[in-house]
């Protein structure tokens, strides 16, 4: 790798793409942590108040975790 290639990486459009990918990965990981915390909290909520809708809320909270994982993978692969 010569000096021109190194300069190329940090110039203009490439810099923007690198920063975009970095922020995408960071925010998607933060969102994943949030969804995991929310899933745990939904479980506590369902224990505190037991209703017929417990399956619905558990399902949606797990779906959120799955979507968060999908977003993390997308941030690594797509961008």
């Amino acid at each position: 790798m010569d000096i021109n290639q190194i300069i190329d990486i940090f110039s203009g459009h490439n810099t923007i793409n690198i920063f975009f990918k970095l922020f995408a990965i960071i925010f998607s990981l933060i969102f994943l942590v949030y969804t995991i915390a929310l899933q745990r909290q939904v479980r506590i909520m369902n224990v505190t108040l037991q209703t017929k809708a417990r399956v619905f809320f558990e399902s949606i909270s797990w779906l959120q975790v799955i979507l968060a994982v999908f977003i993390v993978l997308l941030s690594f692969i797509l961008i």
Binding site: A37, Q41, V42, Q50, T51, S75
Partner: protein, 184 residues
């Protein structure tokens, strides 16, 4: 005319499950011979702010989709759209959770207030029916009068826990029900 009385053995769910009579619900610290008579949640009119916010975010995303192609690559725009839609749906789910699990419960023995502040912080307050000294219903303003919702404050002796139910449907009826149960 909606029957909001609990002098019935049949279940009833009014105001989009904000006012539930004898619902099929149990709570964590429920005693064996304790029956849930009334479950109260915030009136559905309180949904308006977050539904409005969600629509604004959606519209903003659509507008961005016309602007972003001038600055970003196609795969980046796809990622932003997918992430934004997931975030908006997560925001909606968070608000539904917050509404559904912040409840006031009236049983044949006590009044319980379950609060999940920002979903994370849990607070459960309870008062035995025989400790209730004063019940106040407050309903003011155009929207509260029009949609018949307000706040309920239950007071006990000076040093004991007080309970409040905010933005509940038909607070005057709830006062009547609790007074019937306490025999006042």
């Amino acid at each position: 005319m909606v029957d909001l009385s609990i002098n019935t053995t049949t279940q009833s769910h009014q105001f989009l499950h904000s006012y539930c009579i004898r619902p099929d619900v149990q709570f964590e610290a429920q005693a064996k011979n304790e029956t849930v008579l009334l479950v109260l949640r915030a009136h559905p009119i309180t949904f308006v702010p977050w539904i409005f916010n969600s629509l604004v975010f959606l519209i903003a995303l659509i507008v961005l989709d016309f602007i972003l192609p001038n600055f970003m690559l196609a795969n980046q725009i796809i990622f932003i759209n997918i992430f934004a839609l997931i975030l908006i749906s997560s925001y909606v789910f968070f608000n539904i959770l917050s509404w559904f699990f912040n409840v006031g419960i009236v049983t044949n023995m006590r009044v319980i207030d379950i609060d999940f502040d920002n979903v994370i912080y849990k607070e459960v307050s309870e008062i035995n029916l025989d400790r209730i000294q004063e019940i106040t219903a407050k309903s003011g303003g155009f929207f509260e009068a029009f949609f018949n919702y307000g706040n309920l404050f239950i007071q006990t002796a000076a040093t004991e826990q007080n309970i409040e139910f905010l933005n509940i449907p038909s607070p005057a009826d709830v006062v009547r029900i609790i007074e019937d149960l306490t025999g006042k």
